[in-house]
Amino acid sequence: MSTAPSIEHDTSHGHHTEHYQGGIMRWLTTTNHKDIGTMYMTFALIMFFIGGAMILAVRAELFQPGLQLMQPEFFNQLIGVHALVMIFAALMPAATGFANWQIPLMIGAPDMALPRINNWGFWLLPPAATLLTLPFILALFGIGDGAVNTGWTLYAPLSVQGGMGVDFAIFSIHILGVSSILGSINIIVTIFNLRAPGMTMMKLPLFAWGWLITAFLLIATIPVLAGAVTMLLTDRHFGTSFFNAAGGGDPILFQHLFWFFGHPEVYILLLPIWGLIPHVLGTFSRKPIYGYKAQVYSFVAIGVLSVVVWAHHFFTAGMPVPALLYFMYSTMFISLPLAVLFFCWVATMWRGAMSFETPMLFAQGFIVLFGLAGLTGLVLADVAADAQYHHSYFVVAHFHYALFAGGIMGVMTGVYYWLPKWTGHMFSETLGKWHFWLTVISFNLTFMPQFFLGLAGMPRRIPDYALQFVEFNAISTVGAFILGFSQLIFAYNVWKCVKGGTRATDKVWEGAEGLEWDLSSPPPHHSWEVQPVIK
């Protein structure tokens, strides 16, 4: 499959397509859920490496104190765009790629319910990613002062005063938001209307349940973010004063609007992962998933709670004590349904006939490391403790345990689990195991020291630091480079698997359960044209 180069080609030279009628037009106009899923995953992988390269430059600068490689302005641009790229252009498209490939296969649907919207949903992404990163290129030619330099949170008043990179980011977020909303509507309609006869909601695979909650969270919160950045835009250019204190606005209002979206966003990224992990654990423990209903109710509970806890992201901005207490306790309350999920995951493996293929290793690594994210999150949720940890490297370490170990490693679990089904070939187990162990070790080498840096008082988003932080920063940078380059093993393994390899059986994994394993590997271009009947 030569998809990666043609997608690359298309984003850079959109006008040359007539030469490639057979090749490129297929990908531009496709409405097939498998094609679109492949494009989402490929795009996510490319952006994962772009976002990763940005942060390696940052870690290189932080290897030693003082300024060696870059000026603080450029440093600020890199950290903000890194976050936006990883969240909106890598993790979210990867999750949508899974949804496209897997939801129709798993619920016995012939395709997504709204195939043309599906095509639009994907093709909005390359322009949005281009808008986000273009200011870097423009700055090389002396146009503008570089990309958005406010950090991904775009806090006012800094973002009201910032350069044109902020405008690029605003429009990029608008387009990414439209793409996410189209994708979410499509997934909800597919799950509600195209399930195989007999598949009741309580027989829906957990992966589809996780995505369903994510989709509802997206359509409820992305418009609020779109509204917030629109207000930012009018404050910047059209004389309004939503966030401008001189005109009667309030910068803190932006924080409320942003995190009303931003906190659910964490669960938007993680719910599809929580959905796919039980399938993997069940398969390699050769046992049915434990506590299906408990997990579904936990998904719903977390989805609902996620929209009422946002202010724990800015406890230090100033709030009345009752508000602080409310946001503290409601945040801590989320750990209850989350703990239910953890117990169900462990119980699924309990006394199972476990084997440790690459997807299982990633799933288990996910449980341990994401558990650390949860525990450190409880510490941050404590109002009294948060005053010390706020805006320190402790926070950086915490959310990378959540979003790299919880998010990216979750995505890799799913890729290794379903890749043989998608391609019809087995990947290299040896390379997969190398990838896993290098990732897990270097990940901890990168981020564990950052907990200690944060406790010792090193603030985040600063290109320079005091001398007592030297050793931990050096360790963290070495870890980050091993982590970054280890991912090339993953890319190579996926590429090899796409190109060829041992034929995968239809069932692929001995203990696999679910409709997708009844289809051939790879499944035919059009599958489930006759829907299966669930008893």
Binding site: D111, N193, I219, A220, G227, A245, G248, D250, F260
Partner: protein, 194 residues
């Protein structure tokens, strides 16, 4: 419009798909509207709770710049509250500002005056607006300004230096746990603003 996007010829398009898409789009529209509704909601919440240090006398003016308050009721001579003053000038305004009164120890309910010094260091006449903020936020609703230079815009001639007075009362209803209140002014350039 849905038929266009979905494709009429697709066997997958059903009436229930269309109804569901319309309902979901309605949620999207409602969420977008909700984002904007949060703006006035937030101001109402701030006025009610003093969230954010917006000083308020029941009626909230633009940017928490409230009108003059009523006369004091009683003086609570049993305790002392320290009021500290700071002043800053925001970027884009070539002024300097500092409080002439650094801090005051007072009994809640007493009428007091504080003064600030501003200086226009540019060679142009410039209009500025001071925006107050009270910390801790819970104290804001008990901080009453009877007269304040922040009630109106200030025009400073080139090189002019001016003393700006503020008359205020810390109401006796202020919570007993609050012993220090900080009043901060930020001066903004309002030339060219509507």
């Amino acid at each position: 419009m849905e038929t266009d996007l979905v494709g009429n010829d697709s066997p997958l398009v059903t009436r229930s798909n269309r109804t569901l898409v319309l309902k979901l789009l309605a949620i999207v529209a409602a969420a977008f509207a909700f984002g904007f509704a949060l703006v006035p909601l937030y101001d109402v919440l701030c006025a009610a709770t003093g969230f954010n240090g917006k000083t308020s006398q029941g009626k909230l003016g633009v940017g928490g710049i409230a009108g003059p308050a009523a006369a004091p009721s009683r003086v609570d001579a049993t305790r002392i509250v320290t009021v500290e003053f700071t002043g800053t000038v925001m970027p884009g305004l070539p002024w300097e500002m500092r409080p002439l009164t650094a801090s005051l120890d007072l009994h809640p309910g007493e009428l007091h005056q504080a003064r600030f010094l501003v200086h226009n260091s540019s060679d142009k006449a410039i209009v500025g607006q001071a925006v107050p903020s009270v910390s801790p936020g819970q104290a804001a609703q008990h901080f009453e300004k009877l007269d304040c230079f922040c009630f109106s815009q200030q025009t400073l001639a080139p090189g002019e230096t001016r003393e700006l007075p503020l008359t205020f009362i810390v109401k006796p209803e202020i919570d007993e746990s609050i012993r220090t209140v900080t009043l901060s002014y930020a001066f903004f350039n309002v030339d060219g603003q509507k």
